[in-house]
């Protein structure tokens, strides 16, 4: 089997992915994949190409004649974006949000998985509790935290007043102040991300060979050393699966932002996704919105590709 050298993973990675035990079956596998590919091309591929075209035009929904392409104006939308302070601000917000959310979700899930691996009482109940946030739609997560962090009737302020940490008049405007707005959104996203990540890392931890740990114990390794030099490196493939799955779903954070702050107040929590909605849906500037969409598509694909590549590199050979 010759590995396909056009693979975006590069020659080596592709060769490692292809396993010898797979069966040669001519066109049969292509027939199996074809319906899926056709549907994806119809619903994702073609519309994305269309949106690329729209992004080169000054199209506005209420001006039907504006959907025409001229070479001279093709890059106008992208130029506009590059000169738009709000665009840069939303890009910066998005990057900060992603960096903090992804890293903190991973660290917390890792800690939680190590904690759960040691539990001896009520394992199955605890795992069900762990899955509770999975039962929430992202929009529901957003609604819930918007309510909890509400300044007047929110659970968080009420609790802080009850225990005497803040005064009744000194309610904290969680969703309004800088940087609290961003922090509350990040908290909500982390809450949503933790279950799947923890489940994957926990399954990985439980599958590790016990002999290695026994040997390390004989050598007098401390708990932290065992984690740092055995558990953590051996968990690499599981870490990358968790990160790949998370990167596929990262744009779900839009739902949370939309319902919690909708990018406000005064664009303090504006992110690429909310800004697209504002430009295209609310201001009907589909050309400009499409140009921005393409930037988010590019970001998401890059993100996923990176983690997937790492996953392929780290896969366990059996």
């Amino acid at each position: 089997m010759v590995a396909n050298s056009n693979s975006p993973l590069g020659k080596g990675a592709a060769a490692r992915l292809v396993e010898v035990s797979r069966i040669e079956a001519g066109f049969f596998p292509f027939a199996l994949i074809l319906p899926a590919v056709i549907l994806i091309l119809l619903v994702v591929g073609f519309p994305l190409l269309y949106s690329l075209y729209v992004s080169f035009t000054p199209y506005e929904l209420l001006k039907p004649n504006s959907l025409n392409f001229t070479v001279a104006r093709a890059l106008r939308n992208y130029q506009k974006l590059l000169n738009d302070d709000i665009f840069w601000r939303s890009l910066l917000n998005t990057i900060v949000f992603l960096a903090v959310t992804v890293n903190l979700s991973y660290v917390l899930s890792m800690a939680l998985s190590q904690l759960l691996a040691r539990v001896t009482v009520g394992q199955s109940v605890l795992r069900t509790l762990l899955m509770v946030p999975m039962m929430f739609a992202p929009i529901l997560v957003g609604m819930q935290f918007r309510w909890f962090f509400n300044a007047n009737v929110g659970l968080v302020n009420n609790f802080l007043i009850s225990v005497g940490l803040i005064q009744e008049q000194g309610q904290i405007a969680w969703l309004v102040d800088v940087p609290l707005g961003m922090i509350t959104i990040i908290i909500a996203s982390i809450w949503m991300n933790i279950p799947v990540m923890t489940i994957i890392l926990l399954a990985g931890t439980l599958s590790l060979p016990t002999e290695t740990f026994e040997a390390a114990e004989v050598d007098g390794a401390s708990g932290w050393q065992k984690f740092r030099f055995i558990t953590f490196p051996l968990l690499a493939p599981f870490s990358y699966i968790a990160l790949t799955i998370m990167s596929l779903d990262i744009a779900r954070a839009f739902d949370i932002v939309r319902i919690m702050t909708d990018g406000g107040p005064a664009r303090r929590t504006e992110m690429l996704w909310t800004y697209i909605t504002r430009l295209a849906i609310e201001d009907t500037k589909f050309g400009l919105g499409s140009a921005m969409s393409w930037i988010t598509v590019f970001l998401s694909v890059l993100f996923t590709l990176y983690f997937f590549r790492q996953l392929v590199k780290a896969r366990i050979v059996r």
Partner: protein, 289 residues
């Protein structure tokens, strides 16, 4: 040996770990309990200060209001429409997405062919496209063919959105079935299709159930695409319905909690049903092959 000699110490440590784990996880799950309790409380307990932490009385008022059983409530939410649309779009798209995704997943797990990795990656990357980015061109295109505000149009989109993850999960499940089984089926005279249909598909049914539940929930919870494609109650599902709720002038937290509980029902059932399979399905990608 070193660890055995500190027996009582170890037992104490175990107890501490257990307690910490219980506290952390109860805190993680607490918000969900709060939503559920709120749905069944009288409104007066929710909006008072100082807050009433433990409910003194439970009531179904919120649901009576929601389903129009309370004559005092004039303006109500179109829960029936949301429920119908959510079930239709999620159910229909799940059946088709799982069928097609399973075929693709089987091909990736079992066969050797050109562009194996490229195709797999291409399919997965289509899933990485943010819903917001996809919703704009879909809106323009669907507008031309009259598919906006249409549940079937929505289901059609969800099929494509759900295929990649189904294929990824099924690829993992099929890889757990030894190749020798397929090969012996060939020796017994099975063709490629009948080996798949009669032997491997029945073996992968637990995986199929897991994949179906993931697909159903993804469609059930989807917000970005439906909020652009569905402008009225003919196609609005629960998520945009809940969003519309929050945009009203006076925010009815209890009403929203009540609707959230309805929205969570399938998720709760499914998550409990697939707990075990979920883990093996998600992690099998860690093993090369």
């Amino acid at each position: 040996m070193i660890t055995r000699s500190v027996g009582p110490n170890r037992r104490r440590n175990d107890m501490i770990w257990n307690m910490v784990a219980w506290v952390v996880l109860l805190m993680l799950a607490l918000p969900a309990f709060w939503i559920i309790i709120t749905a069944f409380r009288p409104n007066i307990e929710i909006n008072t200060f100082p807050p009433v932490w433990i409910p003194r009385r439970l009531t179904l008022e919120a649901y009576a209001n929601m389903f129009g059983l309370n004559p005092d409530v004039q303006q109500r939410v179109a829960v029936e429409a949301y429920l119908r649309n959510s079930l239709l779009a999620s159910g229909l798209s799940t059946v088709i997405a799982v069928s097609l995704g399973t075929l693709a997943g089987y091909a990736f797990a079992r066969f050797r062919f050109r562009f194996h990795t490229t195709l797999f990656l291409g399919i997965m990357l289509s899933r990485a496209v943010p819903g917001v980015a996809l919703s704009l061109p879909l809106f323009l295109l669907f507008n031309r063919v009259g598919l906006t505000n249409n549940v079937l149009g929505l289901a059609f989109v969800y099929v494509a959105v759900n295929i990649p993850f189904t294929a990824w999960l099924m690829d993992g499940f099929f890889r757990q079935i030894p190749t020798e089984l397929t090969e012996s089926a060939y020796i017994d005279g099975c063709g490629h299709w009948s080996a798949f249909w009669r032997i491997e598909l029945p073996l992968s049914l637990p995986g199929l159930a897991t994949a179906a539940i993931f697909a159903f929930l993804a469609a059930w919870n989807e917000f970005q695409i439906v909020s652009v494609l569905a402008r009225n109650n003919a196609a609005k599902t629960f998520p945009p319905g809940l969003f519309a709720f929050t945009e009203q002038f006076t925010v009815d937290w209890r009403g929203m909690a009540a609707m959230s509980v309805i929205m969570m029902v399938p998720a709760v059932i499914f998550v409990i049903l697939v707990q075990r399979n979920l883990v093996s399905g998600l992690t099998f990608g860690a093993v090369k092959g």
